[in-house]
């Protein structure tokens, strides 16, 4: 084993960039006079995330490798998902830059670097090869997120959101950690590869299954899927919009990364007590299927009754988590591919939508969906962009949302036997989701306006909106762009250690 100092630290270049940026910003924030605007700090953070993204992209051709006793892995999976995390993070930071709550934004500097820390945690999750680093980086993400949720110190909704987030997050951490302790107990190892190997020889199926279920429930907190989805609407509603966008996108992506790293790596080959000799993961497929179905149904049905845009998107994100979980539940060869594609698209369309909602909240102080009424009349381009994101969220062809959803569908039915019920549930919930997405479109385009015209979109938001819109359209009409990138990762053949 090589010495710490002989490790190839350049593999961690993206992480270093983000970490360095976070620390530098922290220092600057402390040093800067309090009357100076912190907006440049957020821009700097976004730039850092973008830089880290470039660094990650530059490493795509590299062979998979690991350092620090295999606790940090840089395989195709890590690179691919880091790209999405960084893209989501950078875009969310653009929202931070234009964050203007009505009580003023004295904590924008903190907002920027805390988000960078959270992003760092999410990136480390993607690269972790060890239960310990996985746990610690996850907690870095979580704890930073709690702070992000409560950043509007004087706003009671924000405080409440943070409190709820912490309490539920704590419970989730405890449950997951409890599961981890059983896995550790069965194998005595913390390295994921070692665990996987030793689990093959274990003869404690019940404890193993219990560990699996504990881990699954723990992870479902991050995913915001049934049964651990209920915190999401409250927290999304109470948190500042950029934080909400971050939770909906980066946190969720990190959750799926965790799901794959943790459950697939460890349990794909673990024995089970099923009818025929198969792996524990496969024997748990029905559970995941049911949870995915419930998530889709609850997310899309309850969204029908929402008036708050943030809350609505929270339920919508639950439904989307259900689609993603369905893609996972299918366990076809397209699983990771389809999740990556969906998460990429999901990031673009969600951040785009949140950027416009952020603008509306900034201008009107409310996120009621009436605020959208008649937007088309004064800000046709803005309305068109939001319409595009909503269509994409609804999975209408010609937008990125369709092509990603199609791939999930294909994954669902390519297995033998196919998951037709899940596909049907997904199809029906998609149609149910039309109701609330198109309800927003109706507000945007059909209804007369009640409120004063919105101001122009500030630079940060418009950058985010333009990037997301271009991405959504480009992937919708030329999905080859995204799939060619995906093909670079060689179907994550090096995923299992």
């Amino acid at each position: 084993m090589n010495n710490v100092w002989q490790s190839d630290w350049s593999m961690m270049a993206p992480e270093w960039i983000v970490l360095a940026a976070a620390i530098v910003l922290l220092v600057i924030d402390l040093a800067l006079p309090s009357d100076r605007s912190r907006r440049p700090l957020a821009w700097g953070a976004a730039a850092a995330a973008a830089l880290a993204m470039i660094a990650t992209a530059a490493m795509i051709p590299a062979e998979p490798a690991s350092i620090l006793h295999d606790t940090f892995r840089l395989d195709a999976f890590a690179k691919a998902f880091k790209l999405i995390l960084l893209a989501g993070g950078a875009l969310a930071l653009l929202l931070v830059a234009e964050w203007e709550p009505k009580e003023g934004s004295p904590h924008r500097g903190e907002f920027a670097y805390m988000m960078l820390f959270a992003l760092l945690g999410a990136m480390m999750v993607a690269s972790s090869g060890d239960l310990l680093t996985l746990f610690v980086s996850l907690e870095l993400l979580s704890v930073s997120s709690y702070i992000l949720a409560g950043l509007r110190k004087t706003a009671s909704a924000s405080n409440e959101a943070a409190l709820k987030y912490v309490i539920n997050g704590g419970i989730a951490t405890a449950i997951m950690l409890f599961g981890m302790s059983y896995v550790f107990g069965l194998t005595g190892a913390t390295n994921l590869g070692d665990i996987a190997r030793r689990l093959q020889e274990t003869n404690e199926p019940y404890m193993l299954a219990l560990a699996f279920l504990l881990l699954l429930i723990g992870v479902s907190f991050k995913l915001a899927t049934v049964p651990f989805h209920m915190w999401a609407p409250d927290v999304y509603e109470g948190a500042p919009v950029p934080a909400t966008a971050f939770f909906a996108v980066v946190s969720k992506t990190a959750g799926f990364v965790l799901l794959l790293r943790l459950l697939v790596t460890m349990f794909a080959a673990a024995p089970s007590e099923g009818r025929e000799p198969s792996s524990l993961l496969l024997s748990m497929q029905p559970v995941i299927t049911i949870l995915a179905g419930l998530t889709m149904i609850i997310g899309s049905v309850v969204a029908l009754r929402q008036r708050s845009l943030k809350r609505l998107l929270a339920y919508s994100s639950i439904a989307h988590a259900g689609y993603l979980l369905a893609g996972f539940a299918a366990m076809s060869w397209a699983m990771i591919d389809s999740l990556w594609m969906y998460l990429l698209v999901y990031t673009l369309m969600n951040i785009g939508a949140f950027a416009i909602i952020a603008h509306i909240v900034n201008e009107t102080g409310s996120d009621d969906l009436d605020g959208l009424a008649g937007l088309y009349r004064h800000r046709p381009l803005l309305a068109a962009a939001l319409g595009l994101f909503l269509l994409s969220l609804a999975g209408i062809p010609g937008t990125a949302g369709f092509i990603a959803k199609l791939y999930i569908f294909i994954g669902l039915v390519v297995t033998e036997p196919g998951h037709y019920v899940l596909a049907a549930v997904m199809a029906i919930t998609t149609v149910i989701s039309y109701v609330y997405y198109f309800n927003l479109i109706v507000q945007l385009f059909f209804r007369p306006t009640f409120t004063a015209p919105l101001g122009r979109l500030p630079a940060g938001l418009s950058t985010a909106v333009v990037l997301c819109a271009l991405g959504t359209l480009a992937i919708g009409w030329a999905p080859g762009l995204a799939y060619d990138v995906l093909a670079q990762f060689g179907h994550f053949g090096d995923f299992l250690p």
């Binding site: 279920l213 651990f228 559970v287």
Partner: protein, 617 residues
């Protein structure tokens, strides 16, 4: 000339199109377009007929549509029957075109009238030239269209609207029978061509059952179009149309199309005794049935309409009795004398501006041309010897005697009696007696009288085509010389003469000389009178059965549609909505509840796992 027969219908079609496009501009001159077009048709039709006299037939087909390996064709065929009908139709049509110039003068939709006439003539000529059932069906419906348009010509009258609608729908009912029969024949023989169908009938490809079914179904079409019982009710109402239209369409040509159709398909019918009996029975019943109603009508045109129905029944009876020639013979003579009667009636209406015969009287002297011509028509239809109707009716009675059931023969005789009675009741009420009103009534212009004159001549002359004395020109010709006149008992002619004269005498006693009280019968059996005046309540029966049933089903379905179908959709939406509300309420803001939900989810999964031992589902 026969290869040019396809041009015959095109002249009126051209007239229709031209008048539709330019009629508004040409106004009264439109008549000349129509008259010229039909005259050209008539001349060409004559030429074809003359050509046909040589004995050859002609048939030409063009591809109309290919359906895989089946090719449906459109074409023309000139057979004896077709050529004959062509001339009859073209002739009557031309005469009506001429007549209308006077009758319709001053109407603001004059050109439209001529356009519609052209359309109708086109369709009717096309119908008689059809070499196959499909084409016949197409033109069959198109003549219905012409009839519909012309009945509804006075569109602003509610009665005209209702009559037009009724005419179309009642005939449509029959047409569907035709449609189904035609389709069945195609199913069995893979062809619509008359020749192919006849061949299939001949070589037994078509089973007897199917033959009967198809024949009867097609006959339903004929029932509808020819106003046979029980689909006759539209025809009297159709008198809402202008009178020339009644003459052309609802007396001479279109209503006879049913007879023509059965005649054209005669080999099919001959193959099925049951079908023949159906035709005969319907014809016989209609003949007497309509004649009885005709007794009590007070509208001049309605009397004639019921008389038309009755006479068409005669023709059907002839066909059913197997005498194809008699049917066509009567069709021809009827076309002439009934057209004459209608045109004369039109002239009367033109003069007195009413159709109610109770308000007429003593017009003999005021209408010096019309009255005698009407008399000729009446004599002819009554079957008075030496007039055309006598010969054709005699032929039918003979056929009914030799081939049909006895009952039908006697029904026909009774109908003959009634016919002459109501025709002369009409004649005496209109022309005899004292003038009641209309001192200013005057004779119609020459353009109206001239066609009547021609028809008057034909109403006498046309009978001599087929007489016991001068040979059977028509029969020989229609059957390509294989016709042999079945010697009917001589007394039939005597009986026919006696009953017709008896009818006239009775009418004279009651209405001419007024020796007998008019309410002689109605006073004694008032319910019969009432029954007749209400047309046997047929319309009411329909209203309370078929119409009520359809509207009941329709209302039922409307409820199904609104409550069941829509209800299920709303139920689904309601369930989703209720679930949404429930889910939304479940989200109660209590963070500990959220945790509890999670933990119970976990607990459920663990318990299921523990119970099933990993055997999920």
């Amino acid at each position: 000339m026969m290869n040019l027969a396809w041009i015959v219908p095109l002249f009126p079609l051209g007239s229709f199109i031209l008048l539709l496009l330019f009629g508004q501009r040409w106004k009264q001159a439109s008549a000349y377009v129509g008259i010229a077009a039909t005259l050209l048709s008539l001349l060409l039709a004559f030429a074809v007929l003359v050509d046909r006299l040589g004995g050859s037939t002609y048939e030409a087909n063009w591809t109309w549509m290919t359906l895989g390996d089946v090719t449906l064709t459109a074409g023309i065929s000139v057979t004896a029957l077709n050529a004959w009908m062509l001339v009859v139709v073209a002739l009557v049509s031309w005469l009506v075109h001429v007549y209308s110039q006077g009758y319709m003068a001053g109407d603001e939709r004059f050109s439209t009238f001529y356009a519609y006439l052209g359309l109708f003539t086109f369709a009717m000529l096309g119908l008689v030239l059809s070499p196959n059932l499909l084409q016949a069906y197409i033109f069959w419906e198109l003549v219905g269209l012409g009839s519909f348009l012309l009945i509804g010509f006075y569109f602003y009258k509610e009665e005209a609207k209702a009559a037009a609608k009724k005419a179309f729908i009642m005939t449509r009912i029959g047409d569907v029978g035709f449609f189904i029969g035609m389709m069945l024949l195609f199913w069995q023989t893979n062809s619509f061509d008359y020749d192919d169908i006849f061949r299939a009938v001949g070589d037994g490809t078509l089973s007897p059952g199917m033959t009967m079914l198809a024949a009867i179904l097609i006959f339903i079409g004929a029932i509808g179009k020819s106003g046979q019982f029980p689909l006759h009710t539209w025809l009297p109402d159709a008198m809402e149309g202008p009178t020339p239209v009644s003459a052309l369409i609802h007396a001479a040509t279109m209503v006879a199309a049913g007879v023509y159709l059965v005649a054209a398909l005669f080999p099919l019918y001959e193959a099925s005794h049951a079908a023949m009996m159906t035709v005969a029975a319907i014809g016989g019943v209609t003949a007497i049935f309509a004649a009885t109603i005709g007794l009590v009508q007070t509208d001049i045109k309605r009397v004639l309409a019921y008389s038309t129905i009755s006479q068409l029944g005669y023709m059907m009876l002839a066909l059913g009795a197997g005498s194809y020639v008699a049917a066509i013979f009567h069709l021809t003579t009827h076309a002439f004398f009934k057209a004459l009667l209608f045109l004369a009636a039109g002239s009367v209406i033109h003069a007195v501006h009413t159709q109610n015969i109770e308000e007429m009287g003593g017009l003999w002297r005021r209408l010096p041309w019309t009255a005698p011509l009407f008399l000729i028509g009446a004599l002819s239809i009554s079957g008075v010897p030496l007039f055309a109707g006598f010969f054709s009716k005699d032929e039918i009675l003979a056929a009914a005697w030799t081939n049909g059931p006895r009952l039908l023969f006697w029904l026909a005789v009774a109908a003959a009696l009634l016919t002459s009675f109501y025709m002369f009741r009409l004649f005496f009420l209109v022309f005899a007696g004292k003038a009641r009103r209309h001192e200013d009534a005057h004779e119609a212009p020459a353009s109206m009288v001239a066609p009547m004159l021609v028809l008057g001549v034909l109403s006498i002359a046309s009978g001599y085509m087929q007489t016991p004395w001068f040979g059977s020109f028509l029969g020989e010709w229609l059957t390509d010389g294989t016709y042999h006149h079945e010697a009917a008992p001589g007394w039939i002619a005597v009986i026919a003469t006696v009953v017709s004269l008896a009818g006239i005498l009775l009418a004279w006693l009651m209405y001419g000389a007024q020796k007998m009280p008019r309410d002689w019968l109605s006073a004694r059996v008032p319910y019969i009178d009432e029954l007749l005046r209400r047309h046997y309540y047929i319309d009411d029966i329909y209203r309370f059965t078929v119409v009520a049933l359809v509207s009941f089903i329709s209302r039922l379905l409307a409820y199904v549609d609104r409550f069941l179908v829509e209800g299920l959709a709303r139920l689904a939406a309601g369930i989703v909505g209720a679930a949404a509300s429930a889910g939304s309420r479940g989200q109660n803001g209590q963070v500990q509840t959220y945790g509890a939900v999670t933990v119970s989810g976990l607990a459920i999964l663990v318990v299921i796992f523990a119970l099933t031992g990993g055997y999920w589902l």
